[in-house]
């Protein structure tokens, strides 16, 4: 029978880190030619060269990337890294304007081909560049192609550099783009500072005491691998010196009682856990634009909450928050619904194009079930964000409000309701927002509503402010 010497802390067992599929955006992004070695990191990483002018250049593009991102760039314009903790955005090439040829007068090239064959096109700077076309005017066979592909390491490339002060030779061969990596923590800080969002605070006594093990003690029990040799020798010496008058230090015999092992202690450390449910309405009335509004907002919302929890947990441990803490303690659940609801992986949440009727109640039921099964509300902070255009079936209103009331009474931290539609309710018809207001009153502490009208960066900021900002009353 196997004896478990060091039983695992049950609390720790229940919160095994789950494999997070945070790469949902990555699948959606247009394929960028990225190799790891060409990605320049900043935040944690340093510029890849000690060249001071490169460092200055790096500062400039970093600043411009920051300004660009601060305007709530759509997540479709960049790529989220595999660990979900940072994003990659392509940099722009800085052009120095000068008087130069426009590129529309043509030029002279070399190669095979007939009149009218395509040989290339103008690049972003209006300068001709070779096309990938039909092989017209491509290099002569057998020449230069090997070196182009870099097949032979150490084999030099095509042409010697300019034998002078420079000239135009360096103009070609410019890469199309390369990427800057920005941590999502940094994005969250920009959001928080820009919108004056409040910091999250721990719930106090309600937070979970996670048991943390540290290997800092000596024990009489343990495995042979953890044998503490110095202490064992010390104990043996103690025993021998106490027992015999003249002992020979070259002849030491060990007894069972001498053995000491390295061992651990367990200390409780506080931790805040949060689960966030994102509900997306995928009914027929949610057009592509409306879904885009929802998804764009969701990226920044998720970024901010994950950052806040990571930071909070670091502070509870009395450590300095780090980029690695991003998302610590947060679990995200994604639910899409039309008139039925289902939990989906994050990827699907960002990519699904379903359509059907609209019923909210099944989605709330799903959340209720999940909370009951996995996220006991006395141990988890629960956030629900619901993106919809507000066109619920009339007969569903009553039922859904009932379930929602139950949820909120049970202790949900926040129910955020985001309406994404171009106008207010059409022709006097009421949207779900009115139903919510009627049922809970406009100033309910646990319910926040927002309305996004168009695909625009400012709108996303307003939504974040509505959902997470300080309330006046």
């Amino acid at each position: 029978m196997m004896i478990q010497l060091f039983p695992q802390n049950p609390a720790a067992k229940s919160r095994q880190p789950k494999a997070k599929d945070n790469n949902a955006f990555a699948g959606k992004m247009p394929a960028l030619k990225t190799l790891n070695r060409d990605t320049v990191k900043f935040g944690a990483g340093a510029p890849p060269s000690s060249d001071p002018d490169f460092q200055r250049y790096f500062e400039i593009i970093k600043e411009s990337a920051r300004r660009d991102l601060q305007k709530f760039k759509s997540p479709q314009e960049f790529e989220v890294t595999k660990d979900g903790k940072s994003v990659k955005i392509p940099r722009d090439y800085i052009n120095t304007p000068h008087f130069t040829r426009g590129g529309n007068e043509g030029g002279v090239g070399q190669g095979e081909g007939d009149e009218g064959d395509e040989v290339g096109e103008l690049d972003e700077n209006g300068q001709p560049k070779p096309g990938k076309g039909e092989g017209k005017g491509k290099p002569q066979p057998g020449k230069g192609e090997k070196a182009e592909k870099g097949e032979e390491p150490g084999e030099p490339g095509d042409e010697p550099g300019e034998g002078d002060l420079g000239g135009e030779g360096s103009q070609d061969g410019k890469p199309d783009d390369w990427n800057l990596e920005i941590s999502r923590s940094e994005i969250a800080r920009w959001i928080g500072d820009g919108l004056e969002l409040p910091n999250f605070e721990p719930r106090g006594a309600n937070n979970i005491q996670k048991m943390e093990t540290t290997w800092d003690t000596i024990s009489r029990l343990g495995t042979q691998g953890n044998l503490h040799r110095r202490r064992t020798l010390f104990e043996a010496l103690k025993r021998l010196m106490a027992g015999t008058q003249n002992f020979d230090p070259k002849k030491i015999n060990f007894q069972r009682s001498d053995f000491r092992y390295q061992s651990f202690t367990e200390r409780p450390i506080p931790k805040e856990n949060a689960v966030i449910f994102y509900i997306l309405d995928t009914s027929g009335s949610m057009t592509a634009d409306r879904k885009k509004m929802a998804r764009d907002t969701n990226f920044y919302l998720s970024t901010y909450i994950q950052y806040q929890y990571g930071k909070m947990n670091a502070e509870l441990r009395a450590e300095k928050p780090d980029d690695k803490d991003f998302g610590n303690g947060v679990e995200e659940r994604f639910i899409i619904h039309d008139d039925k609801a289902e939990e989906v992986p994050e990827k699907d949440f960002y990519n699904t194009t379903k359509s059907g009727g609209t019923k909210f109640a099944p989605a709330y039921e799903e959340i209720k079930r999940l909370i009951k099964e996995k996220y006991p509300i006395d141990q988890w902070n629960v956030y629900i964000f619901h993106y919809t255009d507000g066109d619920n079936f009339g007969d569903d209103n009553k039922k859904s409000i009932e379930i929602l009331k139950e949820l909120i009474d049970s202790g949900v931290n926040l129910y955020g309701y985001v309406e994404t539609r171009q106008q207010e309710g059409m022709g006097g018809s009421t949207t779900y927002k009115n139903v919510l207001d009627q049922a809970f009153g406009k100033n309910n502490k646990f319910i926040r509503t927002s309305h996004i009208k168009k695909v625009e960066r400012g709108e996303y900021a307003q939504a974040l402010k509505d959902l997470l900002g300080k309330k006046d009353n």
Partner: protein, 537 residues
């Protein structure tokens, strides 16, 4: 071995001196500091030469800057390379080349690229654009698309920079190139007036600009922004004559225009502060140094390739038989055809090769034929520049041999099925990115004229000052001697920058091609903020 942290272009032998340590740093305390204390205009008239250790104190004609290796291996390789260099130099001199002494520096590739981004000058004024250039050279190298192989600087002694980690046969080729270029710099008439201590002069510029940046009254950001502006007009120098100190006295008129815009601004712009004049003047000198290079790029590349062939053919003892195929493959990469550009190495080489053949025919009966042929070629190297070379010596046969054609963005390949699908492709802005380029002709005369147009004025558009009092309001009137359209958005932004430097309205008289392909005579003008476009009749 201790590796210095601050590695940028510092040779191990170079003492660590702070760049701010100029005489200005010892200037009186701040309370007395006025603009008069700054390096005012006129101070520059005596160029500040700062010796660059890297260029001057060379322990050995070939330096190897490879710190990772053991000194023993280092020494061995150094000796091998230097033996190659000596053999080449002797052979070249025997065959009639007359080069400056060449200091060859072999260095790690990354460091080499940093140097190449600064156009071969180890001490260059601080500016982000070198960083961008460096990274743009570096990325294709990482991808394995292309490598940059050599930088040769017109200086006495000529400075040649080669990356290490190349096989010996590549180093041999690059060294021959460096020798041929050195000979070209020394003997070409177009380099007659160039400063042979450019390395030191540019280091002096770097010191002065760094000192300006460190000056609390100016600041790094102001200097950088100002240099950004000057960079946008730095190609506006006179390509027809060597630089003169100061500026001409006679007034600028329509009959007697002036192309040296930078020099004009230095002297006459009411807007510029003294330190700004100095910066413009320094960059003007650097631009003028670039002019002969632009004018003779084809010639110099051709000369280098020609001598590579020549030296190899005449000295079989230098052949590396084992690597002969690899060597020719490397040469093939240099001679690769480019669909949208002229490969200057190949074109120049072809011209020289054919000229040699031609001279050999002519001098068939001469007793000392070989030497006479080379002599005739050296005369061409001495006197011609790109445009004259093409004008005089390009022939139909060469064009056919090189498979040359002209291409055009406007002529679209006819799609026979277009009418069936009801597709109509509007002509569109033909400067727009993505405009397709099509082969338009293989006619010799077309190709020749287009090449001449391309190489005219070193590949830069010709823009001259016609009037300094246009509209009777101190407006600066520039005239574009039209060969081709200017790039429109660039031209507008440049004009705005120029107006800010001039401090008043600037006009540009040019032609623009519209979407339908018709040319319009236009006057662009700017007050430093906005662009006004007016059509002229």
């Amino acid at each position: 071995m201790q590796v210095r942290q601050n590695l940028t272009f510092t040779h191990p032998s170079r003492p660590a001196t702070s760049p701010a340590k100029t005489d200005r740093a010892k200037s009186p305390p701040q309370s007395q500091k006025k603009t008069t204390q700054l390096p005012g205009f006129g101070q520059y008239s005596k160029p500040l030469l700062r010796p660059v250790r890297f260029g001057l104190r060379i322990p050995h004609p070939v330096t190897l800057n490879r710190l990772q290796q053991s000194p023993l291996a280092w020494n061995e390789e150094l000796q091998k390379l230097d033996a190659t260099r000596q053999a080449l130099e002797t052979a070249a001199k025997e065959m009639g080349l007359d080069p400056f002494p060449v200091a060859m520096h072999v260095m790690p590739h990354d460091k080499f690229l940093q140097l190449a981004a600064r156009k071969g000058f180890p001490e260059r004024y601080p500016h982000w654009s070198w960083g961008q250039e460096y990274y743009d050279l570096k990325l294709p190298t990482l991808y394995g698309i292309r490598n940059f192989n050599e930088v040769v600087v017109n200086n006495d002694p000529v400075q040649a920079y080669l990356p290490d980690a190349y096989p010996a046969y590549v180093h041999k080729i690059l060294m021959i190139h460096a020798l041929a270029r050195s000979d070209f710099f020394k003997n070409s008439l177009h380099f007659r007036h160039t400063n042979r201590r450019m390395n030191e002069q540019i280091a002096g510029h770097a010191d002065m600009i760094r000192a300006l940046g460190n000056d609390p009254a100016i600041g790094k950001v102001a200097v950088e922004e100002f240099i950004d502006k000057v960079h946008s007009i730095r190609n506006l120098v006179d390509g027809t004559r060597p630089m003169r100190d100061g500026f001409r006295a006679e007034p600028i008129t329509e009959e007697n225009p002036e192309r040296d815009v930078l020099g004009f601004l230095t002297q006459h712009s009411p807007e510029l502060k003294p330190w700004q004049r100095d910066v413009v003047e320094m960059l003007r000198r650097e631009s003028f140094a670039q002019v002969p290079h632009n004018k003779t790029q084809l010639l110099s590349d051709g000369w280098a390739s020609f001598w590579n062939m020549k030296l190899n053919a005449q000295n079989p003892e230098m052949w590396d038989i084992e690597n002969l195929t690899r060597e020719s493959r490397f040469m093939a990469t240099i001679f690769k055809n480019d669909p949208v550009k002229v490969n200057t190495y190949k074109l120049g080489f072809t011209i020289f090769k054919n000229l040699e053949k031609q001279f050999r025919e002519q001098l068939k009966d001469h007793p000392d034929r070989d030497h006479e042929v080379l002599k005739a070629l050296r005369k061409i190297r001495r006197e011609e520049h790109d445009v004259s070379l093409i004008r005089k010596y390009l022939t139909q046969d060469m064009v056919e041999e090189l498979l040359m054609y002209t291409y055009d963005p406007k002529k679209k390949a006819p799609n026979p099925n277009a009418h069936m699908h009801g597709v109509f492709v509007p002509p569109g802005d033909n400067q727009k990115p993505g405009t397709k380029l099509h082969i338009s002709s293989r006619d010799f005369e077309d190709i020749r004229m287009k090449l001449i147009k391309m190489y005219e004025n070193g590949g830069q558009p010709v823009i001259e000052i016609v009037s300094t009092n246009h509209d009777k309001q101190d407006g600066l009137l520039l005239r574009h001697l039209y060969e081709y359209d200017l790039k429109k958005d660039y031209a507008e932004k440049t004009l705005i920058n120029l107006a800010q430097l001039w401090g008043n309205r600037v006009y540009l008289d040019t032609w623009l091609t519209d979407d339908q392909g018709e040319k319009t005579h236009v006057m662009l003008s700017s007050d430093g903020q906005q662009i006004v476009r007016r059509n002229l009749q």
